[in-house]
Structures are given as C-alpha cells and as structure tokens.
Symmetry: C2
Subunit: 247 residues, 2 copies
C-alpha cells in the first residue's frame, strides 16, 4: 500500500514540482491556506498552518509529512515569519509527534546560510572554478529574517527528533525554476534546483531511512557552492540536471 | 565616562549576579516587566520585552545591551518562549540597531545544547575524568522548547551582526548559583557558574572587542564538558571558581 503523505503548502512552487512527478506515487493529503485552483491528486484540506486543531486533524493516518507551508518571501516581515514559519512549524511537529508520524521533511532554505555570501566571496563563489563549499556542518548564517525563521525551523526539527525519535530532514532548497535555470543570474545558476530533481529529492525524503539530516537541495550544478554529498549519502539523491548544461 | 548599559530582565538571577559586583562600574539602565523590590543602581524602566515602543525608548543613548529578559523556565510552554524569548529578542535587536548600540550580549543557555547529554554519555560526561567537550562550533541540539528559543535568539544575533555590523556575543549560561555549587547534582556541578564569575564574564562582554561569538558561561570546573577557551580568547574571561573546590 502506498504511503500516506501530508504535503503542507501544497499550492506553492515546491508543491507544484513534487506533485508534477509524484502525483501517483503516494496517497496524498494536500494542505494549503487557499483552496486549489487546479485539479490535484488526493484529498485537499484548506487550513492555516497555525491552526492547531486543523493541523492535528490533517495529521491522522499520515506516515510522512512534507512541510512546505510558510511565508516564502525572502523579504517577509518578522511578524509573518514568526507566525507562519516558526510557530507554524512548531504546530506541525507537535501534531506529527502526537499522531505517530514517522518522518518530516522540512523545507528549509538557502537563506539559512545566505550571509556566507559576503562581498569578499561573491561573485567568485558562484563560479565553477571556485572551490568554496558549504556542506551543512557549518553553523547557519541567515541572510534575512526569513532565513532566521528557517534556522529556527531546523532547530525545532533537531529537538523533536532528539526528544521523540521522529526522523527529520531539513532540505535547504536552492533556486527552484521550471524548465530552465535562471538566466544572467549567477547565484541562481549556482543553486539551481530543477523541477525533476526537486521531485526526486523529496521522493527520497519520503522513502529513505534516516535519523536527523541537513541537506542542500540543488541540482548537480558545476557552479555549486553547496555540497550535495549529504543528500546523496543520507537519502540516495541522484540529481539529473546541471545548470551548466543549459545556455 | 562610564559606558551606558541597558540590562533587560534585570530583576532575574543573572541580573542579580551582575549588579552585585558591577553596580558602580557602568551607567545602568535596568529594564524588567516588574518594578524593583530592592534598591538598584541607575535608572529603572518597567516594560515588557515585546513592547516595541518602550524598548526603543529604553535604547536611547545606550552603548551596550545585556539582554537577559525572557521566560527562564526550561519547562516554559511554546507560546511563552515564542513571544518572550524569540519575539522579544528580535524586538531588542531591531531597536538596538536603530539606536546605534555597539554591542549586545545575549543570555543564551546550556539548554541550547542540552540534547548532547544522551543516555549513553551521561553521567560520565559530567565527571572530571571524562574528556567530552563542547566548544560552541558544534550545531546546537536544544533539549527543550526553551532551548529552541535560545537557538533562535542566537541566530537572530548572527543575522543582526552580519547585516548591521553590531557586535554580538551569545553566552550559553550554565548553572548559576550563589555562594556554593549545586549539591548532589553532577550536571549542575559540571556547568556551575559562580556569581563572581558571572559578573566578571558579563563585564568582559561589555568591555571586550569582538565581532560575533558563542561562548560557554561556566566557572573553571574540573567536571566541565563545555570549553571556556572561546570565552578566554574572545573576551579575556578569567574565572576564579571551580565547583571541585567546594564540598
């Protein structure tokens, strides 16, 4: 029997990439603040991520949670990320643990480590011949308050894993675009994540056995300054795309 | 002229230790939710740490902030640490940056790394002949939601330092007790911080030149599993006490 997967923030871009390739792979329960505007697989729950009761209800019978919901704007104001990203993520973990969920894949972000991109390092670090590489063992350096909220979300995952044994993977998603990497944007090319690699990566988050992991979610770009080794080793991630292979 | 120092959460235990030794060393502005019950140096502001306007006003003319305010209970519920510890700390940093404050010393906690104390490691790690040592370069592992809130507070400091250049030190305070280390409590003896070492440590946080630091705030205990080297090197911390020298 297919696993039951709750996808929060299902109507966003990451959800779009995941459902595009994996619509038939799981029993989906999709959750978003807004009702769907297109035909989507599975069951759809309209609820705010901070609505404790609705989230608990949505968690019933779920094996794995892919938690994408939150304010996705890198310029999001503090009040919004405090509520939607930090409090919302705690709501999800608390409900997941109580419902006996096995795994949570949390959509973290490159902005959790954005301040490593200093004036001294850029734009060199975005180039293929530069060997600067973050691997997830470094202490986070958020580049904005949105990034701070993602560090807090990662830390919630660390706590809920250590305390309750739930498997947690924090995926620091790069620059997700459909069909083609960003044009004339070196940073975006360095951290490009193609739609199919995104779907495959979250498929591995749902399937693989792990305890607690931090992985970078990017394609196998020549320009990369994020290591994808932990995603390969912990999850069996095997990306097919590389921003250098596009014009 | 003495530096002007804003001490938030001044009525708590850490504030008591600091003011006990340093009452005459600085121009103090003390801030707490509750009015003082004893005679204290300087000026006293009664305000909640999340009261944006009051915090901005309290920040005027301040050189250094020692930010202790927050829910200090390791069992504090999420809603309280979300508001008082996470949102409150963001309020302090935002106001500090706008007011041109030079430095912020943030009262973080041993609970930010409490989950390193696993069943396999304890009680051995609390003993003098065990060489397990955390030094602040490790990724945090909070032992409770209070600890999660402290990790979030540290991350806010990282962001405000990187973005605005304000000097930040996160002090992971151990077990602060007056006169005597905890009795029959190995963990507390391992992370004991005496009152005079606490005052001296925060004195160094106010005086020293640094960029961004994470230090452990404990006395020079034989039993320690937190390194005090970064406090020595970054701040010139020179502790006088050791829990092994008490019965």
């Amino acid at each position: 029997m297919a696993q039951s997967v709750l996808l929060t923030g299902a109507a966003g871009r990451v959800g779009d990439a995941i459902l595009g390739d994996l619509a038939d792979a799981y029993e989906w329960r999709l959750l978003d603040r807004d009702p769907p505007t297109e035909d989507l697989p599975g069951e759809f729950v309209v609820a705010d991520i901070t609505d404790d009761e609705a989230i608990r209800e949505a968690m019933e019978g779920i094996d794995v949670v892919v938690h994408l919901a939150g304010d996705p704007r890198k310029t999001a104001p503090w009040d919004s990320v405090l509520t939607n990203n930090i409090d919302g993520t705690q709501t999800v973990y608390e409900a997941a643990v109580d419902a006996g969920v096995e795994k949570v894949a949390f959509a973290s972000s490159n902005h959790a480590v954005g301040a490593f991109e200093t004036d001294e390092r850029t734009p060199d670090m975005y180039r293929a011949d530069d060997d600067y590489l973050l691997d997830g063992s470094e202490l986070p350096r958020p580049g904005n308050l949105y990034g701070v909220s993602k560090v807090a979300g990662e830390s919630l995952g660390r706590y809920y894993h250590d305390e309750y044994g739930i498997s947690v993977v924090n995926v620091r998603i790069g620059n997700l675009t459909q069909n083609h990497p960003p044009i004339d944007y070196e940073r975006g090319q360095a951290m490009w994540l193609s739609y199919r690699d995104c779907a495959h990566l979250f498929d591995r988050c749902i399937q693989a056995d792990y305890e607690y992991e931090i992985v970078y979610g990017i394609s196998d770009n020549d320009r990369k300054y994020y290591s994808i080794e932990s995603a390969r080793e912990a999850l069996g991630y095997d990306p097919q795309d590389n921003s250098a292979e596009h014009d």
